[in-house]
């Protein structure tokens, strides 16, 4: 039976533009591990449907922007590239962190691997020091914002779009930093419950980190000359004016990115009220006793 044209076109769209075994391994590995963990957890300990969906949606989005034809468009259209980075640095990791997946993922690991490999590795000194350093209250937001500014520096953006390895490093650095940042920021625990930074200070950090992004997004969006000529030099994916493309890209960097930070603040406020409610209930119970 012949395959209809639009089905073939959609399949071609979903096929990897430049296949990366590493992206496939990470996204599929995370999904499989999580699914296995869910199956092995007792029914009462499983996270709700919302958190499960958040986890799978986060990785699906990451896979989509890194491996389908979306990646081709990202290489040849500035505003699509900005949406790709919005997913890699904000939306995808945000959803994954919202799912608080670590207990499920740990349960998904074969027992020998968890106890023999991951736990010792996680508790090893260099790992702990490295993690604490990257998740320091000052280092984490500076790294988060710094990476955006770094890759958007025109003299760095040019070679990154021209060289395939540098392009990979750029996208991976955004994804890994996004996962670190949102895991740190959206931790539901308070400082006394073991979070690295308290809920209140994190609200200030989230708001503070959104300001430079609004600045750079607005600066690009409102610029009246071409800042990123690499897209003209290499050709755009479809006919669109260079400045129009650039303005759209600036808007994507400015508004949805800022909104993700506001959403983060809302999530933290919800955690805070929850923690507060628990503390009150605890002290009331103590008084009663």
């Amino acid at each position: 039976m012949p395959v209809p044209h639009d089905v073939r076109a959609s399949l071609a769209f979903l096929a990897p533009w430049e296949f990366s075994p590493l992206v496939l391994a990470l996204c599929a590995g995370a999904a499989l591990l999580y699914a296995r963990g869910l199956r092995r957890l007792p029914a009462g300990e499983r996270p709700g449907i919302g958190r499960r969906l958040a986890f799978f949606a986060g990785w699906l989005l990451v896979y989509f922007v890194m491996q389908t034809r979306w990646d081709y468009w990202s290489q040849h259209m500035f505003f699509i590239h900005r949406i790709q980075h919005l997913v890699l640095h904000h939306l995808g990791p945000f959803l994954v962190a919202l799912a608080q997946p670590l207990p499920v993922l740990a349960r998904g690991l074969p027992r020998g691997m968890e106890e023999g490999v991951f736990r010792p590795l996680w508790r090893s000194r260099p790992m702990r020091i490295g993690y604490r350093l990257l998740q320091n209250w000052l280092v984490a937001p500076v790294l988060f914002v710094g990476l955006i500014f770094f890759w958007l520096t025109p003299s760095i953006h040019f070679p990154a779009m021209l060289n395939d390895r540098l392009y990979q490093v750029m996208n991976w650095s955004m994804l890994l930093d996004g996962l670190l940042f949102w895991a740190l920021m959206l931790d539901p625990r308070t400082r006394s419950q073991g979070a690295l930074i308290g809920l209140g200070p994190r609200i200030f950090l989230l708001l503070g980190a959104s300001l430079p992004q609004i600045y750079i997004g607005a600066r690009i969006g409102l610029a009246t000359h071409e800042l990123y000529d690499v897209y003209s030099v290499c050709g755009r994916a479809w006919p669109i004016n260079a400045l129009e493309d650039q303005s759209l890209g600036g808007l994507v960097t400015w508004i949805p990115a800022g909104m993700m930070h506001m959403l983060g603040v809302l999530v933290l406020l919800a955690h805070w009220m929850h923690a507060d409610g628990e503390a009150r209930a605890g002290s009331a119970a103590q008084r009663l006793a």
């Binding site: 990257l134 003299s155 490093v169 479809w238």
Partner: protein
């Protein structure tokens, strides 16, 4: 994490390299773009590949013969630049790859490239060969809607990739670079 930081360090270094030492007058992209490699058909109908042009400085440009302004401007500038080099372009070849093989027959391509001089060669590929090449050089092209006569515009890259005799990428000539600048840099590559 260490790997991540190492990678970050590596790109800082690369970015520093990409800026070059300031002596080049067109864009220095030494080793940044993948080495010259392709399988195409030339305007005489011969199957050719990158090996056939080893030993020459290759200027690789993507365009189409019905292009109203961009391509003729760039091609004339390249022709002028070749005349200004020390050995008048003897060691150079301009490969003009058409991104519109449907309209650009071998004959049409040959007529077009010959008009710019003997160092100009037109190349055509099957859609698959063209896609492979565009992936390798990270360039894009797209077709506009045909008008009532069936004519359509093609959006394409504007840069000219320059490779040395070993096929290593050296320069990217941008639309604003002058013929003088191109000639000076070609002489510098020739040594």
């Amino acid at each position: 994490m260490k790997l991540f930081l190492a990678a970050l360090g590596a790109c800082l270094a690369l970015a520093a390299c990409a800026k070059g030492d300031g002596k080049w007058r067109t864009k220095d992209v030494d080793g940044l773009v993948r080495p010259l490699e392709f399988e195409l058909t030339d305007d005489a109908g011969r199957q050719v590949n990158a090996q056939d042009y080893r030993g020459k400085t290759v200027l690789l440009y993507f365009g189409y013969t019905s292009c109203p302004d961009e391509c003729p401007t760039t091609m004339s500038k390249l022709a002028l630049a070749l005349k200004q080099t020390r050995n008048r372009g003897a060691g150079d070849v301009v490969l003009f790859v058409t991104v519109d093989p449907q309209r650009d027959s071998a004959t049409r391509l040959r007529q077009y490239t010959r008009a710019f001089g003997p160092r100009f060669v037109g190349l055509r590929g099957t859609p698959q060969e063209l896609v492979a090449l565009s992936k390798r050089y990270r360039i894009s092209y797209s077709y506009g809607e045909p008008d009532k006569d069936g004519d359509y515009e093609v959006m394409h890259s504007t840069g000219v990739f320059v490779f040395d005799g070993t096929g290593r990428s050296r320069l990217l000539v941008l639309p604003n670079d002058s013929a003088d600048a191109i000639a000076a840099d070609l002489d510098r590559i020739a040594g």
